[in-house]
């Protein structure tokens, strides 16, 4: 039991349950399973994105271009759909994954081959990808009436009582869980984050692994691009503007250390759910949605204060030993 409590995911889950409990004292229907299923569905895209960001952060890198990637890929698939409604949706999803992969690979190559810090690379591609969306669309929007019914309906179809969007999220969570806990690549990603120098001596190609994580986050961004556009049924240059920081916020709340090496699939999912619950709950308990930003800001600061306690103690002890010597 004691060992069980050491996991920060357990504490986060407890915090989420308390949060749901508090909300249902004001609005009892919130804790209804049907509503919770709705909240999960609403948070699906953020969860998927947070998982992609997680693998990047674990290697001590960061991908600021995910939201721009989402915007660009979403615009491409929306325009494709508007021009050629006959293209089946699964093929469109493959196209979205491929475009995302290319955009991610560009980030990855710059980080791997030229050794430019990832924050600089993705700061640049953040503006480039969003700008490219404008060039591609000429500033025009793709509205719901131009999208085919399949394009909009695919993720809304209900399978075994749950929308396809939720199933996609569950599938992505399962894939990431296998990747991080059952494959050599997953272990390499953790190893690089904990100690890049030791990883080199252990025979891990650090540069190539970083390239791969950017490809992963790119593909995730591309997938989220289709999901986002078909959910909110509008493709424009403004789509998901500034959302990259929400994705990172979900990771931070989920206990993924920005210094790399610490974090789990469960953490990223719960971090995203935490933000999703807050944004879903505010309207039903009659708090102005304008409060949402400040609340998630306070949640991020609180989460990082709590998460840092364990890590900081370690550093302190080392310093005290050094002082004594």
């Amino acid at each position: 039991m004691k060992a069980f409590l050491k996991y920060r995911e357990v504490w986060l889950l407890a915090a989420i349950i308390v949060l749901i409990g508090l909300i249902s004292t004001r609005f009892p229907a919130f804790a209804d399973p049907n509503n919770l299923r709705q909240v999960f569905n609403d948070t699906s895209i953020l969860m998927i994105l947070a998982l992609g960001q997680m693998v990047v952060i674990l290697t001590r890198s960061i991908d600021l271009s995910m939201a721009s990637n989402l915007c660009f890929t979403g615009m491409v698939v929306a325009m494709l759909n508007a021009a050629h409604p006959a293209i089946p949706i699964p093929l469109l999803i493959v196209i979205a994954l491929a475009i995302g992969l290319v955009l991610g690979a560009v980030n990855g190559l710059l980080v791997w081959r030229l050794n430019i810090p990832s924050i600089v690379v993705t700061l640049g591609t953040l503006t480039i990808y969003r700008g490219a969306t404008f060039v591609l669309s000429g500033g025009a929007w793709v509205n719901a009436d131009k999208m085919s019914p399949d394009f909009i309906g695919f993720q809304r179809a209900v399978l075994l009582g749950i929308p396809v969007l939720s199933w996609i999220a569950i599938l992505v969570i399962a894939l990431f869980f296998v990747l991080m806990t059952r494959t050599a690549l997953g272990r390499s990603i953790y190893a690089i984050g904990v100690n890049p120098t030791a990883s080199v001596y252990a025979g891990i190609d650090v540069g190539r692994t970083k390239f791969i994580v950017f490809c992963i986050s790119g593909m995730v961004g591309g997938l989220a691009g289709y999901l986002w556009i078909s959910r909110y049924v509008i493709a424009s240059v403004e789509v998901a503007n500034g959302y990259e920081l929400n994705i990172i916020a979900a990771c931070v709340i989920g206990g993924i250390s920005i210094a790399g090496g610490i974090g789990s699939v469960g953490g990223a999912v719960l971090g995203a759910l935490f933000l999703g619950i807050i944004s879903n709950a505010l309207p039903v308990i009659n708090i102005s949605p304008f409060w949402q930003m400040a609340i998630s800001g306070a949640a991020i600061i609180l989460a990082v204060v709590l998460n840092a306690r364990g890590e900081r103690q370690q550093g302190r002890i080392i310093l005290r030993k050094a002082e004594a010597a």
């Binding site: 960061i62 430019i116 600089v120 500033g139 304008f290 930003m293 400040a294 998630s296 306070a298 550093g315």
Partner: protein, 331 residues
């Protein structure tokens, strides 16, 4: 022991041979700025006009002011993503003060103090609790702008006094605006602070090796705290300028500025890993970004397309020396 090579090359030496000055980062930036200037003046007949050029400066003065303090912060190995949110919060509180009947000097004081307070809050969280600054300031970014949204919602504050307009719209002499003058004064102050004082040397020392700096008697925590306060202070000043220039406050004011400021700093040759960089580089980078934005604006290129150029410029300018070194066998 003393013969062991330093783990990292420490730039910003005081006596540099001429040859290294020619191939320096600043020289590259001067070249880029010169090229953009020439292209602009060829592309548009309206470019080489003193009044056009004066308008140009408004594109970078406000962000540039923050970039100076941000440069020092990044050299010390920290970062502040909450600068734009600080502008929003300071502007909102100034707007509240106007509704309560505050006069111009009080407004300026409020703007600057709110900025300073936001910076001190970041600094306390980072230095007292030992938290990573990138995460703390992502949090305070939401928090500060969130408070502005709570106060204002979808409303706007207007009705700033006439005398308040001087800071963002006034001219000191001929085509030299108050904002430009402030930018130049700040450039000199920050250049002196970073390159001519022991405080500046300590910032470099912290950025290169915080542990070694600590054991050399540098008060790492205190200096970082001061740098966060400075960044907040400059954001407060920028908030006064922007609010005065726009004459109104919305909670979405200065949205996205944080990334533009950081782009400016990195383009200026400040190492994002800390420990290296110069103020001259930041001034040149500010000028380059102003030139690109303004030049393309004269050619009726939409703002979002300009951002592609800024993004490309950022990556290319960083990648160029690396590719160059690799092609020529490297050092």
């Amino acid at each position: 022991m003393t013969d062991t090579p330093a783990p990292r090359h420490i730039p910003d030496r005081l006596d540099r041979p001429l040859s290294s000055a020619i191939f320096s980062w600043e020289a590259l930036l001067v070249l880029v700025a010169g090229a953009i200037f020439v292209v602009n003046s060829l592309a548009s007949p309206y470019f080489l006009d003193p009044y056009s050029l004066s308008d140009l400066t408004f594109n970078f003065t406000e962000k540039g002011l923050i970039a100076f303090a941000m440069a020092l912060l990044i050299i010390s190995g920290e970062i502040d993503l909450s600068v734009a949110a600080t502008i929003a919060l300071a502007s909102t509180l100034m707007g509240m003060a106007v509704q309560a009947g505050a006069d111009t000097p009080l407004l300026v004081l409020i703007g600057i103090l709110v900025g300073l307070g936001c910076g001190a809050f970041n600094g306390l969280l980072v230095t007292r609790l030992g938290l990573p600054s990138i995460v703390v300031t992502i949090g305070t970014m939401s928090l500060f702008r969130g408070i502005a949204f709570i106060i204002l919602g979808d409303q706007a504050y207007k009705g700033y006094p006439d005398s308040f307009a001087f800071f963002g719209q006034g001219y000191v002499w001929w085509v030299v605006s108050f904002e430009l003058l402030l930018f130049l004064i700040a450039a000199v102050i920050y250049w002196f602070l970073l390159h001519r004082t022991s405080f500046g040397r300590r910032i470099f020392a912290i950025g290169n090796n915080p542990v070694a700096a600590q054991f050399s008697g540098v008060r790492v925590g205190r200096i970082k705290f001061v740098l966060f306060c400075l960044t907040g202070l400059m954001s407060g000043i920028a908030s006064v300028l922007i609010t005065s220039r726009l004459g109104s406050t919305r909670p979405s004011i200065a949205q996205g500025y944080e990334l533009e400021v950081i782009t400016m700093v990195v383009l200026g040759g400040i190492s994002i890993l800390g420990g290296a960089g110069s103020i001259v580089g930041v001034v040149l980078a500010a000028l380059i970004m102003g030139l690109v934005t303004f030049g393309l604006g004269l050619l009726n290129v939409p703002g979002i397309v300009m951002s592609i150029f800024i993004g490309l410029l950022l990556i290319i300018v960083i990648a160029l020396p690396i590719v160059w070194r690799r092609l020529h066998g490297g050092r």
